[in-house]
């Protein structure tokens, strides 16, 4: 690196200062900075920078991963965690990082949810699906009372973040009754937010089409999702967030539930 002889520049800064500066940019900026020059490459790939982008409690969290997470550098760990979910604990909690911000995303597997009548094989089946990241998914045979709920402790989340909650699911080819309007509920900190007229499946329209916000949207992993609600988490232990979807007015079947996802907005 050369600048004009007397003026100081990046080459005069000790590597500690350069990593300090890069660690307060963003993961995207740090990755781009690696291609500026060799000195930047060394600083931008250093553990000091990526340690700042990882969540504070990452050492404790990754020890819970099954199978264990293997990594050689913190940058590699960050990429592993932001690429796809790692499965924790008893196999029905997935953790991922939002690649842009390093904030935590969680997916509660179907077995981790409270599904009304879920234990009754007349109504729900449990089986393996190759597209699922969990061992089992919930398959709806037929039911009148559809009620899916999940809970997550706020202390697990990244502080000062607005989170959005989604139900992740698919519908089989021979599904029926899923175009009825349902209700979504997100409760946090004593505040209960309900949204009505949420559709798992686009109803065959007789009138104007429904707004996109209230129906399924496809995801990059092959599943569909509908938004259940959102909330803001500040800091510390603020209790649990309860999230759910209900639909009690139609007889329906052919729904496959992957889980509930909580991710930063």
């Amino acid at each position: 690196m050369t600048e004009s002889d007397n003026a100081p520049g990046f080459s005069d800064l000790p590597e500690g200062c350069v990593t300090d500066i890069l660690s307060i940019t963003s993961p995207r900026d740090a990755c781009r900075a690696a291609s500026i020059s060799k000195a930047f490459h060394s600083a931008a790939d250093s553990d000091a920078v990526w340690d700042r982008f990882l969540p504070l409690d990452y050492p404790q969290v990754i020890t819970r991963a099954v199978p264990p997470v293997v990594f050689e550098s913190k940058k590699q760990l960050y990429h592993r965690l932001s690429e796809s979910y790692i499965i924790l604990d008893r196999g029905y909690l997935g953790l991922k990082l939002d690649r842009e911000s390093g904030r935590k995303c969680y997916m509660l597997g179907a077995r981790n949810l409270s599904i009304a009548w879920g234990g009754d094989t007349r109504y729900w089946e449990w089986g393996h699906s190759p597209e699922s990241r969990f061992a089992e998914v919930g398959i709806l045979r037929c039911v009148w009372w559809l009620d899916i709920q999940g809970r997550i402790a706020s202390a697990m989340l990244s502080p000062k973040t607005t989170y959005v909650v989604y139900l992740v699911f698919r519908v089989t080819r021979d599904s029926w009754g899923l175009s009825a309007p349902g209700k979504t509920i997100v409760t946090f900190g004593g505040v209960r937010n309900e949204t009505s007229n949420v559709y798992l499946q686009q109803p065959r329209t007789r009138g104007r089409p429904r707004t996109q916000a209230h129906t399924q949207t496809p995801r990059s992993d092959g599943w569909m999702e509908i938004k259940l609600g959102e909330f803001y988490y500040d800091n510390g232990d603020e209790g649990e967030i309860e999230m759910g979807f209900q639909e009690h007015h139609e007889y329906k079947g052919g729904l496959i539930v992957e889980g509930i996802e909580v991710r930063p907005k």
Partner: protein, 203 residues
């Protein structure tokens, strides 16, 4: 003046007089009227008992700066030097020019003078001072980073590093090279390899 007094004098007088004003052994009588005390104190606002010790700092180009100790110890480096007893005459700072040192002192003074930013007004005043403080040319900014690093002044280092980080955020590598006049010492193949490793960041 106090050197002429021995501990006997001080003990004898202390019960009668306010401890904050100096006792001169040459005064005709040992008692002062209230108005005399008030007059004396109004002329000498910084009294001997309030420790307003000053430290002399010498820049690399030989200029000296006299600053209050409270301001000087914003720098952990200087603080340790004082504690280690190296600050008898003056503290030489061979890595800092007078131009930069005077700016650093200005920063430290402002931050010491502002009471613990509990009040909204004080906090916003300090924020706006900081924002103006870093509106300098690039070489001064880097000099300030180097000085803050050498003098170990965390808040100044954080402020200056944040300023540079803000100049990097969202820019392409080419723009950053241009802004900071950095030479690209990669071969085209090496650069291509690094870009491929970090492909997602260039989408």
């Amino acid at each position: 003046m106090l050197k002429n007094l021995n501990s006997k004098h001080i003990q004898r007088f202390s019960y009668k007089y306010l401890p904050q004003f100096p006792i001169s052994p040459n005064s005709p009588k040992l008692g002062f009227s209230r108005s005399q005390i008030a007059n004396y104190r109004s002329n000498f606002p910084t009294t001997i008992m309030s420790s307003s010790k000053t430290i002399v700092l010498r820049s690399s180009d030989g200029e000296t700066f006299e600053v209050d100790e409270a301001v000087a110890v914003e720098s952990q480096t200087i603080k340790h030097m004082i504690e280690d007893g190296c600050a008898d005459t003056s503290i030489p700072l061979p890595n800092v020019t007078s131009k930069i040192l005077s700016k650093v002192i200005e920063y430290c003074k402002k931050h010491v003078e502002t009471p613990n930013a509990d009040e909204k007004v004080a906090e916003e005043d300090l924020k706006s001072f900081d924002a103006d403080f870093v509106k300098v040319d690039q070489s001064t900014l880097f000099d300030l980073i180097l000085a803050a690093n050498y003098l170990n002044i965390k808040s100044l280092l954080d402020l200056t590093c944040q300023t540079v980080a803000d100049m990097i955020k969202g820019k392409t590598p080419e723009e950053i090279r241009k802004t900071f006049n950095i030479k690209n010492d990669f071969t085209p193949e090496e650069e291509e390899e690094v870009r491929r490793e970090n492909a997602w960041a260039f989408e």
